[in-house]
């Protein structure tokens, strides 16, 4: 794994990386990837594990179980930025300038 690979992973994962970070992670991740590559020596012609345990349908009656708006205030309180009308505030993602 080289520094370009790590820079690309940082972009995909939205992790900002300094040049020093990139160099350190390239070395460390390279060692780890080499170690985990050992599993490619195993022949595994079987279905993959998608759930840790048996998979079954889980049903419940089709009823509303929580009161409308009961959690609203406590959730808004936990948000970093809200409007007085009770909306989550996020930065603009569309602009007229472009």
């Amino acid at each position: 794994m080289n520094t370009e690979d790590v820079t690309h992973l940082g972009t995909l994962a939205r992790i900002p990386l300094s040049d020093a970070d990139t160099a350190a992670f390239a070395a460390e991740l390279g060692t780890i990837v080499e170690y985990v590559s050992a599993i490619n020596e195993i022949t595994a012609d079987v279905a993959v594990t998608k759930q840790n345990g048996p998979v079954m349908n889980v049903f419940r009656p089709d009823e509303v179980t929580n009161e409308s708006g009961a959690c609203r205030d406590v959730l808004l309180e936990a948000m970093p930025d809200t409007t007085p009308a009770g909306h989550l505030k996020v930065p603009r993602i569309l602009s007229n300038d472009e």
Binding site: P16, I42, P80
Partner: protein
Amino acid sequence: MTISSLVDAYTRGDTTPATYLKEVRECIAANDADIHAYLETYDDVTAPDTVDPDAPLSGVPLAIKNNILIAGRLATAASNVLKDYTATYDATIITRLKEAGALFVGATNLDEFAMGSSTENSAFGPTKNPVDPSRVPGGSSGGSAAAVAMGSVPAAIGTDTGGSIRQPASYCGLVGLKPTYGALSRYGLIAMGSSLDQAGTLTNSVADAKRLFTVMAGQDPHDATTITPDTYPAVETRDTYTIGVPRDFLASGVDDDVRDAFDRHIEALQETGHTVVDISLPLFAEGLAAYYIVMPAEVSSNLARYDGMRYGTRGDGDDLLAQYLSARDAFGPEVKRRILLGTYVLSAGYYDAYYAKAEAVRTLMRNELNERFAEVDLIVTPTTPTPAFRLGEVADPLSMYRQDIFTVPVNLTGVPAISLPLLSVERDGTTLPVGVQYIAPHAGEERLFDIGVRLHDTENQ
């Protein structure tokens, strides 16, 4: 102090919940400046005036790992990303512990987002091992283990994704239980690896582990992976057990003193009437490689939610991308490392070679384990290959990951396991504990409690 002896003392009138809670707080005040088991203590919690004889944990103080949500309390996961985040609801296991009468006295330290084996990855500073404060308590539930080992509480709750309860139990001389995947609801646990995570217990006795497990276990409509009593075939208890020792799995990487102590334990087992047989688990040696593909893949997915938009701390910057990057820069180095590794093994061109392959190996491991459990009742290993190491001693990530070699196959296959503090080794004039791990078939907790009570509680009371 055990929960059983505390409840007996309440019943006899030897002490009261208020008196004991005061002692708990005095113990924390006297010791925690050095040990740093707690991130926060809940000084507003008050003890009941009377003990409810029908509530199994009435007036029993517990410490809770800070990646488990308690409504109205900070739930930081020991991360700067969540340092100001207050939980908006109770985890299901917290609801059940409250209903049983438990008192929560504080939140315990952990490796950030439960990623680590030493508690050195906490954004708020490491926890030290009460047995020898120059050593780590293990991790990631190191704060919970240290809280019990320093005598502040009779028991604590942790979480275990790859060994994060059993390894600290081994290092601190405690009983550590990782239940069957699905036995305890994961609702309200801050997710790390969702197909691997289970909450569990750190206690001074096996009977206490059973008491807490019984309170917390059971189906939960909020977690569709919780199991019912019919999900798996019944696992009976027996007068004597056939116990398998996976010699090939133990062949390398185990400290010589740990191996000698483990071999003496196996000899003692045979003298008490159990049958010990050598078994082969060739794929378990590959478990750590599979784990370090599956776990980071799930980490990279689960931690994508921490973008500073809906909770946590909003990042700085003029546009959305700048704010994302700023918010996520608050992750510590180990969390970043695992997110990047997970992103790599899930990315186009590598998915089949790593992630899909690891999940197929996981199926093979499960099949291999089921075959062995047709021959033996229990499997035994040392919990950890070494005793507790010194703070700062293990710096290389891969060496740190190897601490979990005996514990991760248990999470990958979803079976239950318990670490019992039955071994000890000498290091620089200090006696250090090491755990023995017993592994049972799925839903075999009763069998683990049965062997554990006989090997541990009976000997220590």
